[in-house]
Amino acid sequence: MNTTVARLTARGLFGRRRVLILLAVPVLLLVISVLARNNGMDELDLVHRILGTLALGTLVPITGLIVGTGVIATEIEDGSIVYLLAKPLPRWKIVTTKLAVAVGSTWLLSAVPIYVAGLLLYGTGDEVVLGYTVGALASGAAYSAVFLLLGVLTRHAVIAGLAYALIWESLIGSYVDGAQTLSVQQWGLSLAEAVAADGTVIAPVGLATALWLLVVVGVGATVYASVKLAGLTLSSDE
């Protein structure tokens, strides 16, 4: 961790009006929860729809994508990364610092609102809300690591990340069961299942598989990003 790098990264992420765009996501989730509160629908079903489909399925990947690529890809794109790389700092330290900022921001922008929205909708019963929050923490961290790696690897990091989230997780994941084993969203859901009371949350991936894959992907992505950043070639913007 390097506090100066962390401060600069956070400023790049939240500076100017960008914080407003990022805040729109949690605000939206809370507004929907308040509106849906007294809907008369089955409460558990409602929680699954809002926390499962909307929050874990859409908001967490989008936040992870914006934040994960925002901490490094934008700097690589506008070339200002060279000023950072020129400092006598190990590259892995830059990566871990930026990852820490990204994970922290993703948690702040998605996991915390999920917990609050869950409390509004369902209260603390059956540990369902806690489960979804733990799932969001885990998948948010994994998304940040993966999208940060994409940001180092390619200039089209956001598109590549979108292709993964939209085409692999949503489209292929809903038809091919095997694809769900390799989906960050399902790993998060699996953790939610483990925390929540029996039978309230159903996840297709086993807990052990999910945990191992989460750790392997998170650590692997960070290590690979460090290696890649160590030998980064800056391509000029066309």
């Binding site: 989008i62 914006i66 066309e238």
Partner: protein, 297 residues
């Protein structure tokens, strides 16, 4: 009274420089050039090979299923296309959305980041012309992506000797849907792209708006008992997302899939009028805000 030059005894010599005396092509020519250049840039033409990959991949991804259906219809001797023209656009809606998210920042953000916008405005083309040219270019690019598969489907239908009249009518429905999609998408996409000089951020923000509004529309629909066919009012939820807005409006306007319960429809009665008004307001509002954003650069 002696002036400075007299004091130095200096003279201005005519050393034969000539001013430009040729024709000045003027404002309309400049706007047209900007339009052509932007349209080419939207597909990566005139730029490096790498930047051609993504737009053509998306264009290919949009047309490939149409070619597949064409082949199936011809060889399996079907008596109609597996998918209706507007239904095709709705089924593959995510590809034009990614195209918009990827290419709208190419048109807007790069000019902002490299500070060339003031250079444009120092020429005859005005701020309004700049926005109009960019809007027209994005609209045309989206129309190419949306209309090409429809035209392929129509060609297939003609080759397979399906009834001309009905196919032509539905092709027109499809093309109208394409125009509406392209209008709303361009207005929103360019507005968001013009707000940030960072390309990556623009891409994520446009896709975020489209994806999240779509998810919210579906959840609102479900929360209001949308899957219960008697709950007509739930369809108002489709106003939330630009893509469901167009899809529901077109389906209702032309009475498409009226018997299928899973198809989106604008609510009866005032629904069509309100949906049309919201669509126009979104387009005009997005365009006006983009104009406003360029009022001082």
């Amino acid at each position: 009274m002696t002036t400075r030059s007299d004091a130095h005894g200096g003279v201005i010599h005519d050393i034969g420089y000539r001013p430009y005396a040729g024709p000045r092509l003027g404002r309309r020519y400049a706007t047209r050039s900007l339009y052509v250049q932007s349209l080419r840039a939207a597909f990566g033409l005139g730029r490096s090979g790498k930047s051609k990959v993504l737009p053509f991949l998306l264009l290919g991804g949009m047309t490939a299923p149409a070619l597949g259906m064409l082949a199936i219809a011809l060889f399996a001797q079907l008596d109609e296309m597996p998918m209706d023209y507007p239904g095709y656009l709705a089924a593959f809606a995510v590809l034009p959305q990614i195209f918009l998210a990827a290419q709208a920042p190419v048109l807007m953000s790069r000019d902002l980041r490299h500070h060339v916008v003031p250079l444009y405005f120092s020429r005859p083309a005005t701020r309004g012309d700049y926005v109009a040219a960019k809007f027209a270019a994005m609209f045309s690019a989206l129309m190419i992506v949306l209309a090409l598969p429809l035209l392929l489907l129509f060609t297939g239908a003609m080759l397979a000797k399906f009834p001309v009249g009905e196919n032509l009518l539905h092709l027109l429905y499809g093309l109208l849907a394409a125009v509406l999609y392209a209008l709303v998408y361009s207005a929103l996409g360019l507005l968001i792209a013009a707000a940030t000089p960072r390309r990556g951020f623009g891409v994520a923000a446009i896709m975020g708006v489209l994806m999240i509004s779509f998810a919210v529309a579906n959840i609102t629909y479900a929360l209001n008992g949308g899957f219960d066919p008697t709950q007509e009012s739930a369809s108002w939820a489709f106003l939330i997302s630009p893509s469901t807005l167009v899809e529901a409006l077109v389906n209702q306007l032309f009475g498409l899939d009226a018997d299928s319960p899973s198809a989106l429809h604008a609510p009866d009665g005032a629904g069509t009028a309100v949906f049309t008004a919201v669509l126009l307001a979104l387009t005009a509002g997005g365009y006006a805000l983009t104009l406003r954003r360029y009022r001082n650069v």
